[in-house]
């Protein structure tokens, strides 16, 4: 089952070290929230689209386009109403609030799209290894990557359980509100039971593979920082500093007259 966003390809983005990409993603997140004016987040969004093209991530981005659209609109509308400004536009909305709303919309959309590009070009195991290399303890990273491995298994089990109970006449769509809620029990119990039943099996298999046999273990997946990774990481670091500067010490790209 194809539930993850990864796209198999060999592009410069795919070849980058996951740690370099993580730093770049962090930089993107910080840059996006550094200022209120929509110009910077909007620009970042365009940059993400360029990166999506380079990383051949269009397929994955298409999968979340509805979500991006809803989030963008929702945020614009919400902030137009929640924030205040000096220049009335229409009804209760001021120009500054609308600008802020659009800016926030772009902040969310650009960061989510940026993450999608990251996920489309980085394998699950690279993320896990990257996490270990930046200091996440091995058992935690192990639980993370095992969960990633098991998600498709439980999605499959969930689909089968729904079909099995439907075959026995379960109809989650009908009935009153409380009834509909309660009708999820025949679905949730088997899902839980499936997980619980496999606990001992998985734990035994884990012991049988020598988990924790040595204080230090080897990591088969080798990550190596190449020049391109250094350049990316350095750019990322510079952007992080810029973002912090813009946020904390600079008045550039603020929206004058915005109150919130």
């Amino acid at each position: 089952m194809d539930i993850y966003l990864y796209v198999e390809a060999d592009t410069p983005l795919h070849r980058l070290d996951p740690r370099a990409k993580m730093l770049m993603l962090l930089a993107l997140l910080l840059m996006a929230v550094a200022v209120d004016h929509p110009v910077l987040p909007g620009g970042l969004f365009l940059l993400v689209l360029v990166l999506a093209h380079v990383g051949r991530a269009w397929r994955s981005l298409r999968r979340v386009r509805t979500l991006l659209f809803i989030i963008g609109v929702f945020s614009t509308v919400t902030w137009s109403l929640f924030a205040r400004g000096e220049t009335p536009l229409f009804g209760p909305v001021q120009v500054e609030a609308l600008l802020y709303g659009i800016g926030t919309g772009f902040k969310l959309v650009s960061t989510i799209a940026g993450s999608v590009v990251f996920l489309a070009t980085t394998k699950n195991e690279e993320i896990a290894t990257g996490l270990i290399r930046i200091g996440v303890p091995y058992p935690v990273a192990f639980a993370f990557s095992t969960a990633l491995r098991l998600v498709p298994t439980f999605v499959g089990a969930g689909v089968t359980i729904i079909q099995a109970q439907k075959s026995r006449g379960l109809d989650v769509e009908s009935g009153g509100f409380f009834q509909r809620l309660r009708k999820h029990l025949p679905l949730m119990v088997p899902v839980f039971a499936a997980a619980i039943r496999s606990t001992n099996q998985l734990a035994m298999a884990l012991e049988a593979k020598g988990f924790g046999a040595r204080p230090v273990r080897t990591y088969y997946l080798h990550l190596e920082f190449r020049p391109a990774d250094w350049i990316t990481a350095a750019t990322g670091a510079a952007l992080v500093v810029t973002a912090l500067y813009l946020r904390l010490f600079s008045d550039a790209l603020r929206i004058p007259g915005l109150i919130r």
């Binding site: 979340v64 949730m188 619980i196």
Partner: protein
Amino acid sequence: MKELLTMWRHTRMIILVALTAAVYAAVLIPFKAIPLIPGITEIRVAQIIPPVASLLFGPAAAWGTAIGNLIGDLFGTFGPGSFFGFIGNFFLGFIPYALWGRLGFLSSGQEPAMRNSRQVVEFVAVVLVSAVACAVIIAWGLEVLGLLPFAVLGNIITLNNFIFPAIVGPILLGLLYGRVKRWGLLWTQIMPAEDISTGRGTVGTGLAIVGSFGAYVLGNWISISGGALPFAAGFGQFGDPAVVGKASLVWALAPFMLALLLALFLCRPRTDLAASAERGMAA
């Protein structure tokens, strides 16, 4: 607190982290959400998992819920909120087991087997605290980043974390508790007593409750009156605009966030309630 770290020594607990995370993330895909107000907000079926898993698997559920939420984000909603999502969901899985039996007159003084109404009342209470704690952490975090107003997210997440688990959770837990106990997979059956922190945890419980509800009430008040009232009632009635609005909300809630953080260290789960349970694994 201690058990959150020592659990990583036990393979069964590590596996339970992975399983909780996988189920939490997986259920989001095949199970359709139930519309609450069609088109506006809906109930995530998956939200029933954290409290139920918490009372069964203890610290494994805290980590599992946090990791599972992160994996859910990897399907396409990973963003600046994911960091706070991780922490908020950690509390969602942490608070129910940490506060069970610690709520004074609300507590049943029994294991969470959901065999009588007192246990159900206590379940609803711990779910409410965890729901609010998770919501205020995420809502505060996104307010810090200036992405969404506290009142919007704080209330949606609270509702989502509370309604479905409170209504269906007791029945689900009732169907599972005895069976899991028989299989020897309750966390208190897996982890030896010396790996679990001891004490009454009164301060921790208090901090968790004050932290969540305090932040919820104050956050909503500032967010709504400081932002929403003026466009209906005119400007300036709160004086200096710099004190109202975002900055004030972020700083005003900071002590409550600190309280929640401290609760993580000072809460002391009850381990004596299921103590009669035999430590064992069924064939």
